[in-house]
Structure formats: C-alpha cells, structure tokens
Symmetry: C3
Subunit: 465 residues, 3 copies
C-alpha cells in the first residue's frame, strides 16, 4: 500500500496538473477579460448550473457514500474510496470531455457546465465500483476509473453524435453503461471462495440505517439529476415532475413487493434501500417527454418490480450460473430498470406526434425535422433526412445495443487488467474490511471484532473462510 497508492495518486495528480497548466483556461462565462460592458452578470451560466450542481454533489458523496456504507467493517473504505474515486473521475473527465467537446484554439475551455458533465461521467465509475465493493483495492478502483471514463465518453459521443439517441438523463449512456461495465469487471474478478458469503459481510442496525439515509438523499435529489440537462421551460418541468411521480410510485410498489417476497411478510431493508430508486432510472430516458403523469407512475411501478425481482431471484442465479458476484446489486438498480427505461423511451417515441407536443416536438426530437433551424449537433454520417418515430425507436434500440456491447467488453478488458498482481487486490480474508486501508484504533477493534483475541494480528481476525 505505502508505495502503490501514494505513487499512483501523485503520478496522476502530477499529470493532471501538467495537463491543466498546458491546456485548461476559463471559458467565456468565467473569464474576466471576456466580459464587456453589455454582459449582464445574472445571465452568467453559473446561475442555471450551480443549484443543480450542488444536488448532484450531494447525491455522489453523501447519498451514494452512505448507501454504500452498509457493511459493519467496511464503512470507512466505502465512503472514503467513493470520495477518492469520485474526485479523480471528475478531474479526469474534465480533461477527456474537454478534448472532445470544449477544445479549440489549442485550449480546453472550462466552466461550471464542464464540471457538471464531468460529474455525470464520474457517477458512471462509482456505479460500476458498486459491483466490486469490498473486493478491490483503491489502486484497482483508480485504474478502473482511468479506463472507464474515456470509454464512457466515446460511447456517449457515439450515442449523441451518430445515433442521436434521445436520453435526457442518461438511462442508457450512464446507467446501462455503468452496470454492464461493472458486471464485466466483477465477472473477471470472480472469487470462488466467496460464493457462499463471507463472515465479514455483515451489517449493523446503525449501518443499515445510514444506508437508508443515503437512499433518501439520492431519492430527494434524483429529480435534479434527471432534469439538469433537459431543455429549460416545460421540458425541464416535465423531467422533474415525471421523475418525482415515478420515484413515488416506485417506493410504494417496493414496499408491497418486498413484503410479498417474504413468507412472514417482513420487509427486506435491501429492497427499500435500492428498489425505491429504480423508478428514477426507469423514467430517465423519457423523463422530458409527454409520457403523461400516469405513464410516469407506471414506469415507476415497473422499475420497482424488476428491481425487487432482480434482488430476489436474478442475483442469486447470476452469481451461481455466471459467476457474477454483483456486490451491491447494480444490475437490479441500474441494469434492469435501464432496460425498462429504454423500452419506455421507445414506446414514448412511437406514441409521439405533433398533436401532443405542438411545435416543441422538434426541440425534443431534433432529428424529426432536419430542416428546422434548431442548434442540433450536426452529423456527417446520419443523412440530413427526417426521422420517423419508428426510425428514432430503432436508433434507441441500437443505442442500447451499442452501449451494452461496448461496456461489457470494456468491463472484461478492464477486469483482466485489474488482475495484474501489483495492484494490491485484497486476499479473500481481507475483503469487506477497512483494516488493510485504514488505521483502526485498539478501542474500535474491540467492537469491530468481538471475541477475537487482541493478540491476533490486526486485520486477520477471521480466517475461517
């Protein structure tokens, strides 16, 4: 640890700092010299981005951090590595996305909008990391971030520029990508001795409660997440409203199904912590469309259904049959609801018409009217012809397919690289334990490993695997 982690981080920071020095300048909203007498301060893009930016922040570090901190012995690592990898992901994405989207005159032009987009890229890494929570070293997680961010940016670029997929909140580009990338990694990092659980994989009432608190933070700010990139005005209004309705119906449905799944009717806290969020993923791709309030309600219910079903039946099945040890169940919260969301967007597109949308139709689906003078991303591959709803629906399906393939293959390759021996992958008995990574005081060890002889070497109390 002492060599690897500091070396890797300092190398990364040095490289990033060098890149910042050479390439990064303020964009026209942050550059003092770019202001003129006619610039109105309140028109600065800061004011539309900042309130939502803070919400995404709270989701990433407080919400997701707490949600992941459910294990008694792995709370420090879960929260702190989420913080570390999240920050690295943002910095790295600022550069990668900068070269893709904000690079001209030899410089990357940086403003708060870039940071917002970089946070979305970073989320992808943090979701994928959920599949291998407790089984990877921070060095491995950082390496995963190094590889995943550029792949995510390339995939997103294909989707928006070539396929022109309509996906306002990244159901496909973020959730589906992150899920199958993470599953690819975890399948390669399969640990046969952990297939019947691990003695350190335990929760306490307090960690479970904090994890539920994390769910609440994610739930509260999810409408911001889904709406932040929607067109201002009615489209953003719909994105917030539809997301809220979907989350709410999804929450109710989760309680019903979780109770149904247990023979005594008892609720499973894992379902409440996860499936109550599935509606946000399921409604995501169509969040700004005219899906009607009832449509959002229905998508929320479907999201909860597939998620609870996934935790109950699919995760054990995948673990046994496909060697897929999906630690946090990201397939249930991001993969399955992502499929629901893709199908939802296809149905919504097939039902869309000028009668329902008015002239806004061509703002939400710019490729439906190539001749309209809308500032759409120009493309040289897709011919400038008008797309029918069926065309767009097929492109949505294609977008899902491309994302699925790129992310899974990317995950496999990354998983193979993460198996390199010098990356500090913890041995089985050190999984789900802060001990290898954090100084834990003697007084804490007494509570952490009750019944263990204090003479036992730190971090080695449980060898019965």
């Amino acid at each position: 640890m002492r060599c690897r982690l500091p070396t890797l981080i300092l190398l990364l920071q040095g490289a990033l700092l060098a890149m910042f020095i050479v390439f990064v300048v303020y964009d026209e909203h942050a550059d003092a010299a770019a202001q003129s007498n006619t610039t109105k301060p309140m028109d600065n893009r800061l004011y539309s981005v900042f309130p939502l930016f803070k919400d995404i922040h709270a989701m990433l570090f407080v919400g997701l951090g707490l949600l992941l901190a459910f294990m008694k012995l792995y709370g420090f690592s879960a929260m702190a590595f989420n913080f570390l990898v999240g920050n690295f992901g943002i910095q790295w994405a600022l550069l990668v996305q900068g070269f893709f989207y904000h690079y001209w005159d030899g410089k990357i032009h940086l403003g708060m909008e870039n940071v917002l987009n970089a946070e979305f890229a970073s989320v992808v890494v943090l979701i994928s990391a959920g599949a291998v929570l407790g089984k990877t070293s921070p060095v491995q997680l950082l390496l995963m971030g190094i590889l995943e961010i550029p792949l995510f940016v390339v995939n997103e670029w294909l989707l928006t520029t070539y396929l022109k997929v309509v996906d306002v909140s990244g159901t496909i580009a973020i959730h589906v990508f992150a899920c199958y990338f993470g599953l690819g990694v975890t399948q390669i990092l399969y640990r046969p001795h952990l297939k019947s659980g691990h003695p350190k994989e335990i929760t306490t009432s307090m960690t479970d409660l904090l994890s539920l608190l994390g769910t609440f933070f994610l739930w509260i700010y999810w409408p911001s997440f889904n709406a932040v990139l929607a067109r201002p005005g009615d489209a953003q209004h719909r994105a917030v409203l539809n997301t809220f309705i979907a989350l709410s119906s999804c929450t109710m449905t989760t309680f019903a199904l979780s109770s149904l799944m247990n023979k005594k009717g008892k609720l499973n806290l894992v379902h409440v912590q996860n499936a109550t969020l599935a509606g946000g993923v399921a409604v995501g791709a169509a969040a700004d469309m005219m899906i009607t309030p009832a449509g959002a309600f229905g998508l929320g219910c479907l999201g909860a259904m597939v998620c609870v079903f996934g935790f109950q039946y699919l995760t054990p099945f995948l673990s046994q049959k496909l060697h897929l040890q999906d630690q946090c169940g990201i397939h249930n919260l991001h993969g399955l609801p992502g499929i629901v969301g893709t199908v939802g967007s296809i149905v919504a597109i097939l039902c869309s018409s000028e009668a329902i949308y008015g002239s806004s139709l061509y703002e939400i689906f710019p490729d439906r009217a190539a001749e309209h003078d809308i500032p759409a991303i120009t493309s040289t591959v897709v011919a400038e012809t008008e797309r029918s709803p069926t065309d767009q629906a097929l492109y949505q399906a294609a977008g899902f397919g491309v994302t699925f393939a790129i992310s899974l293959v990317g995950g496999y390759v990354t998983g193979l690289l993460l198996k390199m021996p010098f990356l500090g992958q913890p041995p089985d008995e050190f999984c789900f334990d802060d001990e290898p990574y954090f100084k834990v005081s003697e007084s804490q060890k007494v509570t952490r490993y009750p019944g263990v002889d204090e003479n036992g070497e730190a971090g080695l109390p449980l060898k019965d695997i």
Copy 2:
C-alpha cells in the same frame, strides 16, 4: 403482514394509477403543446417552486425521518414507514386537492405546484403519526392517511375559502390540525399496560445523535417551509427572516429552560431535539406580517417555553389523566406552539394598519379591502364587505376553533376505525420493535437484544411487560 400490507398497497396503487390514467393531465407549465412562440422558458413556474420543493422534501424524509428514528429497536420502521406513508400521502393528496382546486374540463391539471401542496398535506399525516409511533402497523398508518388527507383538505378549504383565515405557513391548517387529529387517534388507541413505559422504549447514543441531526435538517429548511407560499418579494423576505429569528431565539431559550428543569442543571436531549423547532410553528401564521424582528424573537422564546413546559409537565399529566399517550410529544411541538402562533397572528392583525404596511396591507389581508382589484379567492358566503382588524382577528380565532373540532373528531373516528381487528395492530410486547416488520439478521439480533437467548423466537425477547 404478508397478506395485509401488500394487498392494501397494491390496491391503493392500482386505484391511484387508474385515477391518474382517467383524470390527470399536465398543467400549462408542464404541457409541451401549451407552449407558444412567446412563452419564456425561464418564466416557467418550475423555477420558483423547485428550490423550495427540494427543501420540503429534505425536511419530510431526512429531517423528520431521522428525528423519529430515536428508538434503538424501531429505527428501520420509523424511517421507512415515514417514507412509505409520506409518499402515499403525496399521491393521495394530488388527487384530493386536484379535485378541489385544479379540476376543470374533466381533468386534474398537474404541475410541480400541486406536488408542493400535496407535500404539505402529507406532512399533516406524518405529524399525526408521531403520536402513535411504534404502536401502529403500517396498514393502520396507511388507513390513517386515507382518512386524514381528505379531512385536511376540507378543513383547509373551509379556512381559506369561507373563513379567509390568514395563515401563510399553516400554523393552524397544518400544525394544529395534525396535532389534535393525532391526539384523537392515540386517545382511542390507548394502551393501559404501557402507562409506565415499555422495556423496548430505549435509545442509544447513536440514535439520539441521529435524531438531533434530523432536528438540524428541519431547523435549516424551516424558513423555506414557512416562506414557500408567501407572496414573492418583501412578504417572502419577511417570512424567511422572521422564521429564522424565531428559530434562533427559540433555540437559545430551549437550552436555558431545559437546564433549569433538571435539578442538576443537565440538558434533556428530547428538549433540544424538539423545542428548538417550536419557534418555527409559533411564528408561522404571522411569518409574513410586519411583526418586527423583536416580535419574531419574542414568539420564538414563547414557542420554546410552551414546548419545554409541555414535555416536562403536560405530557405526563395528559397521559395519566386523559389516557393520551403522545409518543413523540406532538402536542408540545405542534399543538401548544400552534396556539401561541394563532394568538400571535391575532395580535399582529390587531396591530396592523396602512401606516405600517403601506399599500401592501391589502395584499396580505385581501379581505380588508373587498373593493380592491386583487385576485383573491371569491366567496359567495362571506359578504363582499370590508373587514376590520377586529373582524379578521375573530375569524382567526374561529379558524382555530373549527380546525380543533374537525381534527379532534376526525381523529376519534379514525382511531375507532384503526381498532378494527384485521389491521395488524401490534400487541403490547411488539411495540417499538422492528422485528414484526423487517428481516433482522442474526448478527444484528445479538446487539439488539443483548442477554437474550438466541433460541428465543425472533421478536419475542422481552415479555416482562
């Protein structure tokens, strides 16, 4: 449980979905087809509602959720059922309030403003539920929500439309209503064996700390709660400012009184968790009036006084004499400060004049000038005559009386219905315990029930009641 809870929730969700399909459409701020070339996106109502909407959300689920999670063995239920019932309340209120206020052309017109109002309705149920925390099943709580929401809407409609009570933040309509409804319910659900406490009614240092954290979230966002429905501009500014001052003075006073109440001068954490919020209720009805900063300061002090006094003397008295087992002390945090707030609004109205308010007087008290062309809710019952301050003060008192009567009777009736045998009311020994509702792992049981033989059937460790 396995039959009742899922059946009820799925029935409710099915009915709500059907109603959404038949009745609910987007309002003009969310409907794409309602936008024209002259619509300015930034004028969309989303932008005035959304920032405050998130705050109310955080209060409901994070703030109140944590505040209720103070019991060692009932944390999951407290937080999760608050989440469940809160969500149901919002969905149900969207429909009930929709039919009252947003129904025309055969449709309920839905936008974020409706959701905001529905959250206020939902708060009412969650406050009332505090009186029976730990002693009711989720089925009972949902049934309570089914009944309380329409009654709340009717009462609020009487207050705003007929009595034209001035109550910007719902001190009367929300806090007083919720309190006496909840007290009515708990009086009917009286449990004689619990009058000298319950062995499971224990806290830990951590749950007490989390509950205090919940208080902080409520405290931080309370100014948003009180101001969200105030008129934009100076009135909203005053609502925020007065609420902040009242909360701050109330916090200081709470520490002084709590220390005074103990013979060794030790602080009672229950007081700090609750009475520091009483100022927000006490200042509520008059929050947007010209009560002066000193007036807000004084109302805050009074709120803390009645709340600490209530916890120290009144709650034990009511419990013994009136069989009122008010689990969270909602009478101290919502009832008594609600009375202070009502009286405060009466005094503020009696002191109001055009000299103090300028022409704004008729915007804050629209019925003081019936001939002014202000978009007030028209009423056919109250004659279109000018009200004097004394008239308005009497209407305030009448509003309090009507609310008190309706809520208490409603609470009694609801309590009787909740006693129906098939609603899963927990027997005395299962009160204040997650065991009947949540899967609790064996490793957690060891900490939860120390000294209890593991052979004892789950959930039955404590029989010495």
Copy 3:
C-alpha cells in the same frame, strides 16, 4: 450548571430582545411600507442571498456539527453546543455588525444579507471553539462568543476599510483570525495532565463515520461559502469553479500523503476528515481572481500538504513545546492553509494586469483605480491614490499581520477571562464527556462505559488520569 447556564442564557436573551425592540427594524427589502408600485418582487435581495444562506446553514450545523461529533462520549455536547453557540453568535453579530454597517436614523436595518454576514461571524467562534473542544463548559463557550464577535468585527472593519485587503471568502478575516484566537485561548487553558492523552478521548467506528459525513457536507457547500460574497457574474463563477477545483485536487493529495505518512501505508481518517477541506481555505482569498484552473489545482495540493504535515508533525510539536493543545487541529485546517491562501493571494495580485482581467480589474481591485467611479468604501486614512500590484500585495501581508496579532492577543485575554472560577470549566476527568451536561439514560451508560460498575456515580467512571 443549573444556575450558571440558564442564568447566562436568559440574561443574554433578555438583553438581545431589549436591543432588538429598541434598535432593530426591517430593511428596505423586508419592509412592506418601503415597497412602491414600481418595486419588482423578484428583484428583492432575498433571491440572491437565500439559496446560499441555506448552504452556509447546512455547513454550520450539519457539516461542522457532525465533524466535531467524533468522540464516543462527547457527541451530544459537540453537536448541541455547536448549535447553541452558533445561534448565539449569529444573534450577537446581527447587533454588533448592525451598529457598524447598517445603523442610521437611530435604527439597525435588518434583512437576510445581515443574517448571512452574521453567520460568517458566527463561523469564526465555532472554528475557535474547535481548539478547546471537550475541555470547556457551554458557559465558557458563550463567553468566548461574547468577546470574539466584536473583536472579529473590528478586525474585519480594519481590513476592509483601512487596509482594503482583497479577501473574498475570508481566508484572512475568518480562518486566520479564528485559528489564532482559538490557539491563544487553548494555550492559556493548558491542561498539563492531558498532555499524554485522556482515556475518554476515544472514537467509535460510527462516530468516525458521522464525522466523515460532516466533512462531505462542508466539502459540498464550500464553493457556496467562498462565492457568496463575490461579485455576481464571472467573478462569482470563478469563485465557485476555483474552489471546486482546489477542493478536488486537495482531496486526492490528502489520500496520497496520508498513506505516505504511515509505515504500512494505511490512511488516517483524521486526515481524510480535515485535509480534504484545506483546499477551500487555501484558495479562498484569491478565489475570484484569474488564478487559472491550474493555479486553483496547485493551491489545493498545497493546502492538503500543509494540513497533513501539520497533523503529523506540527501539532505534536506545538503541544509539547508551546503547551498548545489544539483539540481539533484548527491550526492545520485553518491556520496553515490560511497562510498558503494569503501567499496565494499575494502572488495572484502580483501577476494581475489589465491584459488578464480586462476592465474587470478595477472591480476586483477597486483601489487600483481610485479615480474610477466604483462604489468602494471610502476611506480617509489611505490616500486616494492608485495602488500598484506591489502596494496591494504589501497591504495583504499587513492584513495578515494585523489579523494575527489582534486574534492572538484577543485569544490570550479571552483565555484568561475564561479561567475565572465560576464558569464551570470541567475538571480533567470530566473532559470529553457528555455526562456533566446531558441526562444520559441508564441503558446508554452501559454501552458508554463498558466494564464500569453501575454503582459508580454517573460521570465518574474513569478516574485513572
């Protein structure tokens, strides 16, 4: 306790209420009578202040409260006294700052902007209190607030009015001041018996986790803190962007250095909890300047370096050699990064020119162009001559020196006053323990003091100091 704390608080509240009655009125943004037909409600200053005001609130009570609650036996006191003293500080600062800045026609004119500035003053007291956490009674802390607030206001007034120091987020005026004031106090309150630690100075996994959660809240809202007083438009945009970049690079660097410091490469949670925030202090004074993104990145790295270095080497050294028992390490989080920030601002000023800033130069550095018609605070001492970059740099250094001297001497004097016998300073064996201040239930005592005979008098379990 029973006499002292309530008496002091009630006296303070009485005096404050009297002052409010006599002196405080609403300002023109909150006063109904000050509105005219041409007032646009949305131009009310509430709307620029309120969103950031809530963030500062969340930092003060949730963020800092949790960060301080890291000790197993002192969590209630840490969070509750932070809440108490923070509120008193705000109320007191409203008056002191009111007389300095908002007093005319015999009245203090109060609006939300005043409250925002009062919160900044209150932060100063809460930072200083970190140095003596667990070793002072609430009576002492309140007295410290009574004395520190006016001194802070005077020092800030000297800096802004006479020296015209450029310090947008208070790196000098807030962090440096608070640090050396607190160090002065703790040096006087030196406890020789505690130099090799205290048996009650222990953490648990959960308190450490909550403390880390507090760090996240501070981290998330720190850009708001640094930007709230910046000029709207590009300057505010830069303040947010630079602060975010500095925090992010500082977080990465902290992980690297913390691991390097340990011979097994293990991370120290204290570093993660504190040093990840040092970037916010280090970038503060220059946050709105054209320091380039790389400059912000570098300042963040430097902040983390000095902070980790301080915890590892300087704090033990100061404790042994200078009798400086800095309980929370405020010197590492506020003092050393404050020095980095001051030097950073000097370098940024020396590099500033009209070529880089355009005409904005004279808005960020008003004294660089005395003839420009900018609404700068007029001064009779500094001659109305144009300042060169070197002049301004020297004034920055002078500002640091003045602040250092005033705060340290102020801290010494305050420390001497806090030693007065009737202020309830806890004896050594009661340090770091909630017992003297809070009612702790018997069931909690079992967990709090394991192995201690229940017959032992409450609060006296550990006598082996």
